[in-house]
């Protein structure tokens, strides 16, 4: 008798929950694994909104324009057909959430309100105050709870996935995971597996990511033979607040609602911001990019801020930061539109941004790279799919703000549908017990190795050093000599980790053990990121090398594909980019593009 199709989804953020819902709707069984209770996933941190060209402002917006902004924002490194499909689907994705009861901010007429975001001139971003990711995640969490009550989705919260299990034919037949309470190692059989495990920002130590965003799960896929795409493309968000444990995001929506970025014209000026007359302020983004102003894409804004602060030496009250200023706007309006973000600033900085300009600086935020997938979201391992931030497909060399949520949900849908189809077609085949036992044994051996370590190193100190190394050498400005040095440091960190005894050998809720397993995986991904950056001798999107300041389409209009070997990543650059829908152009934000909204123009009147 054929098995009933069974799919495992790893990760309970937006992408994972969306995939699980699609599969449950089709009638297959879903096992949903998540490190944290799914309602506590990192998607809650997304603030500003979700993009979709619903065109409610008479601006002549369309999914086609959303597509153009997205591929241009990504500096033409994304394959274009799936980006077009995502932009086409975006309005219906917003409507789906609307039907699920997401409390989107409304217009006077009771319609969904849209605001502006970076890299576009259209009002295209639906939002629920400034905690949109949280609200979208809650909507899916609620729907999943309904399927759980019906017995169609089984949650395994407090489980961490380590290795997908691959049978002799190369097909994925399940995975091996660990229960974070009793440390049980168990293999789960299935006909398809979807990874939706989010980003890897924790590799960089300080940034806007949550604690669980280590990338360890996808490193496990990479170690098992999955190809990792575009690892070197890491987004640095221009506006985060300093903190000793985390650099907390101040959403791009702050600028979307009218926030202005400036520094005192005199680099040595230490006066309080509101005592500095307008003529002595430098609104450097507005000056250099008159067309997009403060809403240039994130890579552009971060590089400018880096230049102003690190190269030209401007300071705000002595700090290495710039002002993000809302004080010219109505406080009640700000509370309504941005309350959730302003609350974070107040709680952690002790100042009210309605009254005092915020001090912000760039911080590691997002990985454009991730597991390589085809247009059906399947990795190079048949039966193993990926969706959300953990795959590489939609954002090219730089992601536009508010495109993450739509990509997560769209990727979740596409992976869900295709994993179901795959699972149904393969449900008659045996889920190889040998393959499941092999990954089980692999994890057990690794755990025993970690538990048995002796020496004078501290695993938590090594993690701090990893963050410092990656943050210093592999972020906004990249130089080949530094990248080589960083890669050497990574090799050394891994060796030292092998001499780090565990401070806890206990059999119950052993977070130290998990920490070391994750950290080894993080170092593997770090080498792919660093070497990918070293090899790509051009500047494109978030990847910037002063020695190679221009985009080089002739040589580098190619995906970076990294494969794991025990001696470090192996690279393949044979994949060229499908630019069949929009010819790559020079990426400019200082002048208006052809498709800029023209109030009162023919386009606006017709739509």
């Amino acid at each position: 008798m054929a098995n009933q199709p069974r799919v495992i989804v790893v990760g309970g953020g937006l992408a994972g929950l969306m995939a699980a819902i699609k599969i449950a709707e089709f009638g297959a069984l879903v096992d949903l694994l998540s490190i944290v209770p799914v309602k506590r996933s990192h998607s809650v941190c997304a603030q500003g909104g979700i993009n979709g060209a619903v065109n409610t402002k008479g601006e002549g917006d369309s999914p086609g324009l959303h597509f153009i902004d997205t591929v241009k924002g990504g500096d033409f490194l994304a394959h274009q057909p799936p980006v077009r499909d995502m932009c086409d689907a975006a309005p219906n994705i917003i409507y789906m959430f609307d039907r699920m009861g997401v409390p989107f901010t409304r217009t006077a007429e009771g319609l969904i309100e849209f605001r502006r975001f970076g890299g576009t001139l259209h009002h295209r971003t639906a939002h629920a105050g400034a905690t949109t990711g949280q609200q979208l995640l809650y909507a899916l969490d609620e729907q999943v709870r309904k399927f759980e009550a019906e017995g169609k989705i089984t949650k395994y919260e407090g489980w961490e996935a380590f290795y997908p299990s691959i049978d002799e034919s190369g097909r994925c037949v399940g995975l091996t995971a660990m229960d974070l309470r009793n440390m049980e190692i168990r293999s789960f059989a299935s006909d398809a597996v979807i990874y939706a495990t989010g980003g890897l920002g924790a590799i960089f130590g300080y940034g806007t990511n949550s604690v669980v965003n280590t990338g360890a799960a996808i490193a496990g896929c990479y170690q098992q033979g999955a190809i990792y795409g575009n690892p070197e493309f890491i987004q640095i968000h221009p506006t985060a607040i300093s903190g000793a444990d985390k650099l907390r995001l101040m959403s791009e929506s702050v600028r979307g609602e009218g926030g202005r970025v400036w520094v005192p014209k005199n680099p040595k000026d230490t006066r309080a911001p509101l005592t500095i007359p307008p003529a002595e302020r430098w609104y450097f983004l507005e000056e250099k990019y008159p067309a997009y102003g403060n809403l240039v894409p994130r890579d552009v804004a971060s590089r400018e801020i880096h230049h102003i602060v690190q190269t030209l030496g401007h300071r705000v009250e002595g700090e290495e930061a710039v002002y993000l200023d809302l004080t010219h706007l109505d406080p009640d309006y700000l509370t309504k539109k941005l309350g959730g973000v302003l609350e974070i600033y107040e709680k952690f900085k002790g100042h009210d941004p309605r009254k005092v300009p915020m001090k912000v600086a760039p911080a590691v935020h997002y990985s454009m790279g991730g597991l390589w997938v085809d247009y059906k979201q399947m990795t190079n391992i048949p039966g193993l799919f990926a969706a959300g931030e953990c795959e590489y497909q939609y954002h090219g060399a730089n992601r536009l703000g508010a495109n993450a949520l739509v990509a997560c949900v769209f990727g979740g849908m596409v992976s869900g549908v295709n994993a179901f189809v795959w699972a149904e077609a393969n449900a008659k085949k045996e889920r190889s017990a040998a393959a499941l036992a092999a990954t089980n044994q692999k994890l057990k051996s690794r755990v025993n190795d970690v538990l048995g370590r002796a020496g004078d190193e501290n695993p938590f100190g090594i993690r701090r050093e990893l963050g410092q190394c990656m943050n210093r050498y592999v972020t906004i400005v990249r130089e080949n000599e530094s990248l080589k040095k960083a890669d050497g440091m990574l090799v050394d960190l891994k060796k030292r980790l092998a001499r780090a005894p565990l401070p806890d050998a206990g059999p119950w809720a052993n977070q130290s053990l998990i920490h070391v397993l994750e950290l080894e995986n993080m170092i593997d991904l770090s080498r792919a990121i660093t070497q990918g950056a070293l090899l790509r001798d051009e500047s494109r999107g978030a990847h910037f090398k002063p020695a190679f300041p221009n985009r080089d389409d002739e040589k580098w209009m190619r995906s970076t594909k990294a494969s794991y070997t025990p001696d470090g990543p192996k690279f393949d650059f044979s994949e060229t980019i499908d630019t069949s829908l929009k010819k790559p152009v020079e990426r400019r934000y200082d002048v208006l593009p052809e498709h800029a909204p023209k109030p009162g123009g023919a386009a606006a009147a017709a739509h």
């Binding site: 105050g129 905690t131 609200q135 609620e142 309904k146 995001l249 938590f460 906004i476 806890d504 809720a509």
Partner: protein, 255 residues
């Protein structure tokens, strides 16, 4: 892009309730931790993790705790800090009396140290059908129109992160009681006010009319004051209480 926040302030004394597993007897351990600028309680636990040695110089294990977003939107790091349930990420050390005492929440099973099992709250959201019933995730057009004022109420209620501060403070809630607590009752209000969610209003109200429901609220009125998101929980309880009364009357007369 990183800050280490060195500080010349005196070290902080932190007292942590330890428990190796759910059946173990709790004990306290005291740690001396270097002060850093802008330090939160989460950072105290990170310091102990890297250097797990008590004030007496005894080597111990790192403290186990749950944490994720670090910006008070996920609810993970809720614990009792100086006697009050709150999030370790948004509780700044400089605002606290010293020594700082950190304990796990008391209304849930302790898994280890500061980790607790709050799955009961999620189970209660299931019982109360806390979702909007939709026909499917395929394209079915826009949702219902919604007035700005209604959106504001709904959004305020929808910011509940199921952290459990309200049930920790509630004298009626606990392992020996079936009471579902303020957070879940507030979600009943939220879904009952949604144009589509309303379609299950009767079922939701009947669930909270039974044992463990609205009548178990003892009106201690402490829940709203401890909510980190300032959700008007007392209003929600009042609305659900009124709706259950009306529902009881109308369904009785309707028979």
């Amino acid at each position: 892009m990183e800050s280490h926040g060195h500080s010349t302030n005196a070290p902080i004394s932190v007292r942590v309730m330890r428990r190796d597993n759910p059946d173990a007897t709790p004990r306290y351990e005291v740690f001396q931790i270097p002060h850093r600028q802008n330090m939160n309680v989460h950072m105290c636990l990170l310091e102990i993790q890297e250097n797990p040695v008590t004030v007496e110089g005894t080597k111990t294990t790192p403290v186990a705790w749950d944490v994720n977003c670090l910006e008070e939107v996920c609810g993970s790091c809720t614990m009792i800090i100086n006697g009050r349930a709150r999030q370790a990420c948004s509780t700044l050390v400089d605002t606290l009396e010293k020594p700082i005492t950190i304990e796990p929440m008391t209304k849930f099973t302790v898994l280890r140290d500061l980790q607790v099992d709050r799955s009961r709250m999620f189970e209660d959201l299931k019982k109360t059908k806390s979702w909007v019933p939709i026909d499917g995730t395929h394209a079915l057009g826009a949702g219902p129109r919604y007035a700005q004022d209604d959106q504001l109420v709904s959004y305020t209620l929808s910011r509940c992160m199921t952290c459990g501060c309200c049930v920790e403070a509630c004298p009626q809630y606990g392992p020996g009681s079936a009471f579902i607590g303020p957070a879940v009752l507030s979600q009943v209000r939220r879904f009952n006010m949604h144009p589509t969610g309303k379609l299950n209003k009767g079922e939701r109200l009947e669930t909270v009319m039974g044992s463990g429901g609205i009548t178990d609220c003892g009106s201690a009125q402490v829940c709203a004051s401890v909510c980190p998101k300032e959700i008007p929980l007392l209003d929600s309880i009042a609305v659900v209480a009124r709706d259950t009364t009306i529902h009881a009357l109308t369904s009785w007369f309707g028979k």
